[in-house]
């Protein structure tokens, strides 16, 4: 049963728009699938290679700006940005990796965080190129969400399958060896510096492609959206961790959960909280719910804390733990 689960999910995803012809849910699913791409990429470098990136937004934003600038500056279809966004993100990532992988330990994590900030500053300051805070606006190609859905579904499938293929090759073994013990890996003939760059390059390229898609889909970007530390970089980490670090399908599960959680917080549980508060007629409650709706970052922060404390290996990685917990509860109830 477990073997066929991915295929069943794929079939369900393929027919989803036919079953649920609702633009709102289609939009959410498009976001989920985009996060599958980003989370899978993050998982490759962090979960499998052990080099935790805190600045995925740098690559995401680079991809998005590539797509946007191709249109506004060169009058080329932004869809080229899907490919070229990945290329530019990899071009950014490789020299960056070359510099920081010379050092071990926390340097990479810090450097990615710094890169994230640098890119956001550049996006803001270099107004002649990026329009600064005004951002970039392009005309979307399709009116319907349907084409976007199938494009991003293809992207998600391609990224999951390609990471799966990579992990079943020599490279995969090398990435895991580096994660488990870099000294041992080196002594087994593995050029850890080079292979960390390979892993980062692939991850950055996939993330850049997702950025290129975001530009096409949303039609608008600005530095604070696509280079956002919380909404992109931390979200990518959460998608990876919630789903399950170092598992193939973990990030896909994580993407689903995280987009759902994000949406729940953003809409105040689809407005039910507000409705409940209004029904009490108390201005005080309404005010609290208003705050709550604004404070989706707080929910995010709490989620980071709780997940790391209780589910450090994610839903997929800690699945047995969750089952045991549920079973324990049930048997207690029965008793």
């Amino acid at each position: 049963m477990r073997r066929y689960l991915p295929i069943i999910c794929l079939i369900l995803l393929t027919i989803f728009p036919l079953v649920v012809p609702n633009d709102y849910y289609l939009h959410l699913m498009i976001l989920v699938l985009m996060w599958v791409v980003i989370g899978t990429a993050w998982n490759l470098i962090a979960g499998y290679t052990g080099q935790v990136s805190f600045g995925d937004a740098a690559f995401f934003g680079t991809g998005a700006y590539t797509a946007g600038l191709l249109t506004t500056k060169l009058m080329i279809s932004p869809w080229w940005g899907l490919i070229l966004g990945g290329v530019t993100a990899a071009i950014l990532a490789l020299p960056f990796g070359w510099i920081c992988f010379r050092l071990r330990g926390a340097y990479f994590a810090l450097a990615t965080l710094a890169l994230n900030e640098v890119m956001r500053h550049i996006g803001t300051i270099w107004e002649s190129l990026t329009n600064g805070m005004v951002g970039i606006l392009i005309v979307q190609t399709f009116m319907s969400k349907l084409p976007y859905y199938y494009i991003v579904l293809t992207m998600a499938v391609v990224s999951v399958v390609s990471v799966r293929l990579v992990m079943r090759s020599k490279w995969g073994y090398y990435f895991l060896s580096i994660r488990e013990d870099q000294d041992a890996a080196e002594s087994l003939g593995i050029d850890s510096h080079f292979y960390k760059m390979v892993s980062l390059g692939i991850a950055a390229a996939l993330t850049g492609v997702a950025g290129g898609f975001y530009m096409n889909y949303m039609g608008f970007i600005d530095p604070h959206v696509v280079f956002s530390l919380h909404d992109i970089s931390i979200m990518a980490i959460l998608v990876g961790i919630v789903g399950g670090v170092g598992t193939i399908y973990g990030p896909a599960v994580g993407a689903f959960i995280m987009v759902a959680v994000q949406e729940l917080f953003r809409t105040g549980f689809f407005g039910t909280l507000m409705a409940a508060a209004k029904s009490t007629g108390s201005g005080y409650f309404i005010k609290i719910v208003e705050y709550f709706n604004m404070a989706h970052v707080l929910g995010f922060g709490l989620l980071v804390v709780l997940v790391i404390l209780f589910l450090p290996n994610g839903v997929v990685g800690d699945w047995d733990k969750i089952l045991r917990f549920l079973r324990l509860k049930r048997s207690e109830a029965e008793a």
């Binding site: 052990g50 805190f54 810090l110 640098v118 300051i125 961790i241 922060g301 980071v304 804390v305």
Partner: protein, 291 residues
Amino acid sequence: MEVFFQTLVAGILKGSLYALIGMGMTLIMGVMGIINLAHGQLMMVAMYVTFTLHAFFGIDPYLSLVVAMPTLFILGAIIQQWFLNPLMKVESILPENQVLMTVGVGMVLTEVMRFIFTSDYKSVQTSYSKSAWYFWDISVSVPLTIDFFFAVGLTVLLLLFLIKTDTGRAIRATAQDKDAALLMGVDSEKITVITFGLGAALVAAAGTLLIPVYYLFPDIGGPFTRKAFVICVLGGMGSAVGAIFGGMTLGLAEAFGAAYIGMEFEDMIGLIIFILVLLFLPGGFKRLTKV
């Protein structure tokens, strides 16, 4: 020339506060081996403590040091005891779990403060906030001068504490070799809690000292967290003396950058320094001075 000296003085004064921020971070780095990405956020909390004391009770910011520092010490100790130490016992793939936890804690602190105080800019206006004294032709801000002496005093106290007291020695021993310290009978869990508390108290001092001359809003933590890790990397992670050098360097670089390149580049300067250090001086000043 006048601009140059003006900038030099401003840089040194700012650098002394950065040294305080960096020392707190580097202590945590040295003992626990983690980067505390909630460092700036802890400072922000301390600033709100000071702000509240001034706004509601009219307490002078400098006097609030005796409240803000212990408060943050306790907050830091709680974070270490209940949020970071439990992670040591959990089996997980990512070595950076604790660092991620500090990110989460930082986000929660920011949002809780936003909940209480809203996103509005706040500031504390004191009678001396804008006053200055003159050193030949250079005008020097009075509060920044007071800050400087406080910062130097606290730095000396910290170094004395680390060198002279048993707890301080245990902290240094743990930083040098955790296993050896354990064998020598150091209660490492207790040391980590004290260290995190101490680090938080130091950055709280920096925040409180900044209040008379700075504005305050919930998101101010992020930039200071980044400054703190730049200082740490610059000084060589884990080195208290390195952090003083690192703090001074960053203060001067920011001051000169803002004066000669442009204000909008101020935040980027630290990050550029960070990349330069990674490129040309991996290991920071510690490598040059061996302290």
